[in-house]
């Protein structure tokens, strides 16, 4: 029996090593800029989806405002770079600090709200931020900022080719996935799952639900703001329309939903499926940028909500669940119940 368990363990480890090895070698396998770009965006959304997952997936608080933190990270590091000459390596820190302050502020306002009230409350705050950024001279209104192009400069986080960006975002993705896996197994993870299942009951058991939701939100915000800085340095252009628009922020929410909310594998699965699909739809039907990929998102969400509300991870679990004991099944360890709805 123990030997079989050992074997399963090595299976899993081999799987992880195989995927990681493929990712590390990816820039050598695909030398064209386009597949590299897709992979960078994919990994970025793994990070963003995973960050959203910490609050939205584990504790069930559907935040439609995570892109605020993304924009705060991007704007803070970029403005510090442009106005003071601070390298983004340091600029991420004030960005993350601002994002966590924003998270605490939003949390204080919205964490009394339940269900769709919370979702629309956070959305409202995000839209307010969007309108303010569009009209605020300090952040250069709707024009946004363009980061002047320098030749390869590690100091200013700019490179002419995509490899360094790829490895940076790969490192981030691996660290964040490992971190969320750790949360999944930790006390915090158990508390968050308990809050998701029944907040009043969790409270009655002595869990300070507000505090743990806030903690999860701040962690989520900090990770999201890091990604924002990365995005600004990668694209070298930021404006409210591309950072604070709900359409842009949609994948952050849809990816964990499609993959499976409250699971470690969910956002990875979701991003792996959706980002190439969106890219394919854009390049195939995209003449004039007619948003076909969002049309497809809509269709996928409706179909999933109808047939597989817990995400595609459920299909994987049904197929391979017995062979590979998959992590983070979303059930509450605290109540000892596996809800099968």
């Amino acid at each position: 029996m123990e030997r079989i368990l050992e074997k399963l363990k090595t299976y899993k480890i081999w799987g992880v090593i195989l995927i990681l090895g493929f990712l590390v070698l990816y820039p050598w396998i695909f030398t064209d800029p386009h597949p590299r770009h897709i992979m960078i965006i994919l990994l970025m959304y793994v990070v963003l989806g995973q960050a959203w997952n910490i609050l939205g997936g584990y504790s069930g608080q559907i935040s439609l405002g995570n892109h605020i933190f993304f924009a705060l990270g991007a704007y803070t590091s970029t403005m510090l770079l442009l106005k003071v000459g601070m390298p983004p390596w340091i600029g991420v820190i004030p960005g993350a600090m601002l994002a966590s302050i924003a998270a605490i502020f939003i949390g204080e306002i919205c964490f009394d709200l339940r269900g769709h009230y919370f979702a629309i409350g956070t959305l409202g705050l995000a839209e307010i931020t969007y309108i303010i950024f569009l009209n605020w001279n300090f952040v250069n209104r709707a024009f946004g900022f363009q980061i002047p192009i320098l030749k390869n400069s590690t100091y200013y986080v700019q490179w002419a080719n995509k490899e360094p960006y790829f490895y940076i975002i790969l490192t981030m993705a691996v660290l964040v996935v490992a971190f969320v896996w750790k949360i999944d197994k930790s006390t915090l993870g158990v508390y968050l799952k308990a809050i998701k299942e029944d907040e009043e009951r969790a409270k009655s058991l002595g869990i300070d639900s507000r505090r743990y939701k806030l903690l999860a939100f701040v962690i989520s915000a900090v990770i999201t703001s890091f990604t924002g800085t990365f995005y600004a340095q990668y694209i070298l252009y930021i404006d409210p329309d591309s950072l604070l628009n709900l359409e842009f922020a949609l994948p952050i929410i849809i990816i964990p939903m499609v993959g499976g909310m409250g699971t470690v594998l969910g956002p990875i699965l979701g991003a792996t499926l959706l980002i190439p699909l969106a890219e394919y739809a854009r390049t195939t039907f995209g003449g004039g940028g007619r948003g076909v990929h969002i049309l497809i998102y809509g269709l996928i969400i409706v179909l999933l909500a109808l047939y597989e509300p817990k995400g595609l991870i459920e299909i994987v679990k049904r197929r391979f669940g017995k062979t590979f004991k998959l992590y983070g099944d979303g059930s509450s360890a605290l109540f000892g119940e596996n809800d099968k709805s």
């Binding site: 069930g60 559907i62 306002i109 009394d112 709200l113 269900g115 769709h116 009230y117 979702a119 629309i120 409350g121 959305l123 409202g124 705050l125 839209e127 307010i128 309108i131 303010i132 569009l134 009209n135 949609l250 939903m257 909310m261 039907f285 004039g288 007619r290 948003g291 076909v292 969002i294 049309l295 998102y297 809509g298 269709l299 996928i300 969400i301 409706v302 999933l304 909500a305 109808l306 509300p309 709805s341």
Partner: protein
């Protein structure tokens, strides 16, 4: 400082716009009351009704008032069909799945419209309702006035329907207690489908009336979804005229504050109102629960 006539003008414009918000919000609240599902695709049905009005006018030369009965008819069945095909399957699903489902439906409709008709802003040609009324210093378009009274009349009719007819009473019973209603022999499934039909019909009416003076645009749908949701939250779930008043108030707040401060910040005031209401009076101004 802002002059008094301007303030009056903006309040009246806001009130007239609020009538449409109110009608749309009443439809949303009816659906929510029946099956506890927020329809985040609500405004997108309105957007489609506006497009229907535009295309009937542009291609066939129909006046919006001619299009109206057709839209009402089709939208009723579209609503019922949405219920039969999609919503019925998620009645007992977790709240998150319900939310994502209607949200995804909205995305699908919105970007379907975007795909076929692009993001161009369009306008219905001059029609029977074009023209401006001059009331001293205040100007109102005829279309706005008709839209306001039309939406009020529709809401009043709906109210009478719910209070007086047998079917309306079945709707009331189902929203109060579904299980008990079922035991009394009410076919709740049918009632739900009719509820969706009526809710979406309200939106269709709002869309046609709105299209007579308001630009037709793909994204207006999402804005109306949010505004009607916020109106319902402001008025209070479960209160028919409360929701209607909520919609009117949102219209006035948006217009007056937009005029007094900065017009581009209109929606900021709406969202701020929403957040304040949620914090200080979570059940809404006239809500029962």
């Amino acid at each position: 400082m802002i002059s008094f006539p301007l303030l009056l003008q903006s309040s009246i414009s806001g009130l007239l716009m609020g009538g449409i918000y109110a009608l749309v919000a009443v439809g949303l609240s009816l659906i929510f009351g029946l099956m506890n599902i927020v329809n985040f695709a609500h405004g997108d049905y309105l957007m489609l009704a506006m497009y229907a009005t535009f295309w009937a006018n542009y291609l066939l030369g129909w006046d919006p008032l001619v299009t109206l009965p057709f839209v009402l008819f089709i939208w009723f069945f579209a609503g019922a069909a949405t219920y039969k095909v999609v919503i019925r399957r998620i009645l007992d699903a977790p709240m998150v799945a319900q939310m994502f489902c209607t949200f995804g439906l909205g995305l699908f409709l919105r970007y379907g419209a975007y795909f076929f008709w692009s993001a161009d802003v369009r306008k219905v040609n001059d029609n029977l309702l074009s023209g401006i009324l001059d009331l001293g210093n205040i100007y109102i378009t005829k279309a706005e006035l008709v839209a306001f009274f039309g939406s009020f009349a529709a809401t009043a009719l709906l109210f009478l329907f719910i209070k007086k007819t047998k079917l309306g009473k079945a709707i009331q019973a189902t929203s109060q207690n579904k299980e008990a209603a079922m035991e009394m022999g009410i076919r709740t499934d049918k009632v739900n489908a009719i509820g969706w039909g009526i809710g979406i019909m309200c939106v269709g009416l709002g869309g046609v009336l709105l299209a007579t003076y308001y630009p037709v645009h793909v994204y207006s749908g999402w804005m109306f979804s949010l505004i009607s949701y916020i109106s319902v939250a402001l008025g209070g779930f479960g209160s028919f005229w409360g929701v209607y008043l909520g919609g009117m108030m949102i219209g006035v707040i948006e217009n007056v504050l937009g005029t007094v401060f900065i017009p581009t910040f209109k929606m900021v005031f709406v969202y701020t109102t929403f957040i304040f209401i949620l914090i200080y009076r979570p059940k809404g101004l006239f809500g029962k629960f």
